[in-house]
Every structure is written in C-alpha cells, then in structure tokens.
C-alpha cells in the first residue's frame, strides 16, 4: 500500500473539517476525490504533505508524497528546467543547491527525462511564466516526478484549465499511475473526467468518506448525494 490514511481528524477553531477520513491508494492506482466545496478535500491532501498539521489519525506514504496545486505555483521567472530540478532540492546538499547554476549535471539530465515524460522536453529553456496553463501544470507534474515520490497528490489540478488541456492533464495523471506505478490521488470537480480516467472514485461529505466505488460504477444518485444540500461541513 503506497498511501494509507486512517482516521484523519482536523478542526479549525472548534469547527470539524476532517472527521475520521480514511483513504488507501495502491501503487499503480489512480483515485479521484470528489466532494462539495468545503467538504475537506484540500485539507486532507495538505495534511499528507505537511502543509497542515492533523489533529489525529495516521498517514503512511513510504517516501515523502509530492503534490501539485490548482494555482500551479511554479516560479514564473525561472526556466522550465530550473523549476523541474527544484523538485530535487530535498535530496541536494546545500552547496549544490543555492542557485540553479550549481545543480549537478545528473540532476539536469533527470529533470529533462521528467519533462520528456510530460511531453515538454522541447520547452526546457523557456521561462515557466511563458507557457500556457495546461503546459505549466504538466511542468509542475514533472517537478513532482523529479522529487522521485511514489505518491502523487493533485488538488484540483485542472480547475483553471480549458476542457482539452484538462483532459490531457488528467490522462497524464492516469498514465503515471498505470505505467509509472505511482499511487495517484487527485481532487477533481468534474465527475465526467473521473469516470473517463480514474480507477476508483472516493466521495467526501463533511469530512468523511461516504462513497468509494470503481469509476465505471459511478451513478447520478451518488453524485446527487455528494453535492446535495448538506454536502459541505456545516
């Protein structure tokens, strides 16, 4: 089991946001998280990568999990390859990592391979800010790959992208799971994308899992329940 979350709890100022959240994602599996605004999806992922501190529960990820964000969060002024190489900072000694000029050659080669994996090796020398939103999100995924994580999390990676770029990015995530053996969990707000690409769909409602099904078996009634009146944490 690559990602294993048990009984995750989190409250902000007495308001419960995660109320015993469980999630398993196996290597090679692509799981999509669905749920209304405020149901706790982002909070759960942020707890896994350490951007939030959970109040209780356990999280196992093997190595450190990698994460991509809706707002992408590249450094626009830096080149694409420098952004991707930055994924490896955690394993570089300080003296080789203070500036991109100091990055070892093997790292730059590895970064090129990661870029090639997302189909953007040709844009390596461009400034990240000059790429389209969809391309930037794929660069962010390449950065996550360069981190060599076995778990990849994505929080609404396609919410700001046009439909065709969104399709491409979600297909890439699915492919990284299937042929790359990563455990991939992505929050999406488009059930259609989930049905077309995911292995499994997990639904959150008020900080708990209320739905866990094979993507193919998803039906409209499930969605009505997820996005119904009390879907968000009250």
């Amino acid at each position: 089991m690559s990602l294993r979350i048990r009984g995750l709890r989190k409250a902000y100022g007495g308001r419960t946001v995660l109320d015993g959240f469980d999630l398993d994602v196996a290597p090679g599996e692509f799981v999509v998280l669905l749920g209304a605004n405020g149901s706790g999806k982002s909070t759960a992922l942020r707890c896994v990568v350490g951007l939030e501190q959970a109040d209780g529960g356990t999280i196992e990820t093997g190595s450190r999990a990698a994460m991509v964000f809706q707002q992408i969060h590249l450094v626009p002024r830096r080149t694409v390859i420098d952004n991707v190489s930055a994924g490896a900072l955690g394993r570089l000694p300080l003296r080789r990592s203070l500036h991109p000029l100091l990055f070892p050659r093997e790292l730059r080669e590895e970064a090129m391979a990661c870029l090639d994996r997302v189909g953007l090796a040709g844009r390596a020398a461009d400034r990240a800010g000059r790429l389209s939103g969809g391309q930037q999100q794929r660069v962010a995924i390449a950065r996550a790959l360069c981190q060599r994580a076995s778990v990849l999390l994505a929080d609404e990676p396609v919410s700001a992208l046009d439909p065709s770029a969104a399709e491409q990015v979600v297909a890439l995530l699915a492919d990284l799971a299937r042929t790359g053996g990563l455990a991939v969990a992505a929050v999406l707000h488009q059930p259609g994308l989930a049905v077309r690409h995911a292995d499994r769909v997990v639904g959150l409602r008020a900080g708990r899992v209320t739905l866990d099904e094979r993507a193919a078996g998803l039906n409209p009634a499930d969605l009505d329940f997820l996005y119904g009146e009390q879907g968000a944490a009250a």
Binding site: H73, L74, V75, R77, G90, L92, L94
Partner: protein, 263 residues
C-alpha cells in the same frame, strides 16, 4: 418614489478632540522652534549681503575642476556604500522576513539589528568613523554601509513578505530546507522589487554622501564646508551647482533603470 439617503454621520466627540489636540501641538511646536517671521524680515539685509558675495559663482577652471573631482568622490562613496551593504542587508532581510525566517529569536534579533542601524542616522555613523579611521571618504563609505544595511534590509524584508506564497509552499512539500526555499522561491519572486529598491537607495545614498562630506567624510560636501568657513560663497555656489548636476543625473539614471526592470 424617492429614496432617503442615510443620514450623514455627525461630528463626533472623537473628531473634535483630535482636532483640538492637533491645533494645540502645532502651537507648542511654533513656540518651541522659536518660529518668527519677524526675525526673517530683520535678517533680510544679511541675506542680501550674502547673495551679493555668492553671485556670480566662481566658474574658474580651477574651482570647477576641483568641484567635479570631489563630486566624483561623492558619487563613489554613495556607490560603494550601497554595493557593499548588499550582502549584510540580504542576510538580515532573509532572517527578518516572515516568509523566510525560521522565526522566534532569530526573527526578533534580525529585526532589532535592522531597527538599530536604521535609527542611527548616517551622519552620526560618519562622525563615529571619522574619529576611528580619520577624515576622508573611507569614513563616509563605512557610515553608508552601516546605515544603508538597516534601511535596505528592512525594505527588502518587506518585499520578500509581499510575494505569492504558493511557490514557497510547493517547494516546502518537496522537502526543501528554509535556505533552499528562500533561494529558489522567495528571492526570484522578490528580485525585481529588490533591484528597484537598491537603485532607489543608491540615489538617496549619493545625496547623503554629500551631507557626510560636511562632517569631514570626504567628497564635495567637504569642499562646501571649507568654502563656507573661508567666506568664499562664490565658490560654494559653484560646488552646489555641480552637486545639482550630479544629483539630477543619478536620479534620472536610477529612475530610467527602474522603469526598464518594471519595479
């Protein structure tokens, strides 16, 4: 049907009190500074006398040459004082910006050092260094390094606090250390603002190195001081004209570069 607008807020007791207090403080200030238009009128004869001696300025080659040479020294003091304060300002800014600091006592200590360096005017630093290393431009450079570290460090720390925190968080989840995050997310994002502030400080520092000269730290300020002491007001005006050219040139250059980098 017409809608009735909400009633205007009445002048409150607070507004009235603040107004009275402001007027009172200004009256006090007027008296404490011995502000007196009458004295100015009475001193008019002295002013006319002064102007008579000062005009026309002494534009002889000798005076002008010495002035230009000294103005260059003033420029160099400002330049070195600014450049050499970059490393110390950078380190203190990183430690004092909430986006990069490790927090706790490091943050407090860095803030305190910056506040101290900012609070002590460069002229005071210059007086101290003139005593330590003697009269001359070197004391001026040292004074600027200290004071400018405080001012620029504070400005840079603020620029670093204003950046978008997303890239920083993204690198944190990669397992990057604080220093790595500062080098790869915060500094690149804050770079244009920091460069703009650097140029702005260069402009200010060239102007203050003139004042430093007045207290003995070299450059054209020193010449201005001397010509006043020798009652050569015509030479003094020449010096001031050269200063004017220097200050306008540096100001324009700095503004031009700032526009080009969009900061």
């Amino acid at each position: 049907m017409t809608l009735t607008p909400p009633r205007r807020r009445p002048v409150t007791l607070v507004t009235a009190t603040v107004t009275v207090a402001l007027v009172a403080v200004h009256v006090l200030a007027w008296e404490a500074t011995e502000f007196s238009p009458a004295a100015l009128v009475q001193g008019w004869a002295g002013m006319a006398d002064f102007l008579g001696q000062a005009l026309p300025p002494d534009l002889s080659g000798e005076v002008l040459g010495a002035a230009v040479e000294a103005a260059l020294v003033t420029l160099y003091i400002g330049l070195l004082g600014t450049t050499l304060s970059v490393p110390s300002a950078l380190v203190l800014a990183v430690l004092a910006a909430r986006t990069t600091t490790s927090g706790g006592w490091v943050y407090q200590a860095a803030r305190t050092v910056l506040s101290f360096l900012r609070a002590v005017p460069d002229v005071v630093f210059a007086l101290v260094f003139v005593t330590a290393v003697g009269l001359g431009p070197f004391a001026g450079v040292l004074a600027l390094i200290f004071h400018n570290t405080g001012v620029m460090g504070k400005l840079w720390a603020e620029a670093m606090e204003e950046i978008d925190l997303g890239p920083r968080d993204a690198l944190r989840t990669n397992g990057a250390s604080r220093v790595q995050v500062a080098a790869h997310a915060v500094l690149p994002a804050a770079l244009p603002q920091c460069l703009g502030l650097l140029l702005y400080r260069l402009d200010v520092n060239v102007r203050s190195s003139l004042v430093l000269g007045l207290v003995g730290a070299g450059g054209i300020g020193f010449l201005v001081n001397q010509s006043i002491k020798l009652f050569r007001f015509d030479e003094m005006v020449t010096h001031l004209l050269v200063v004017l050219v220097l200050v306008v040139a540096v100001d324009q250059l700095s503004a031009l570069v700032r526009r080009r980098i969009g900061a």
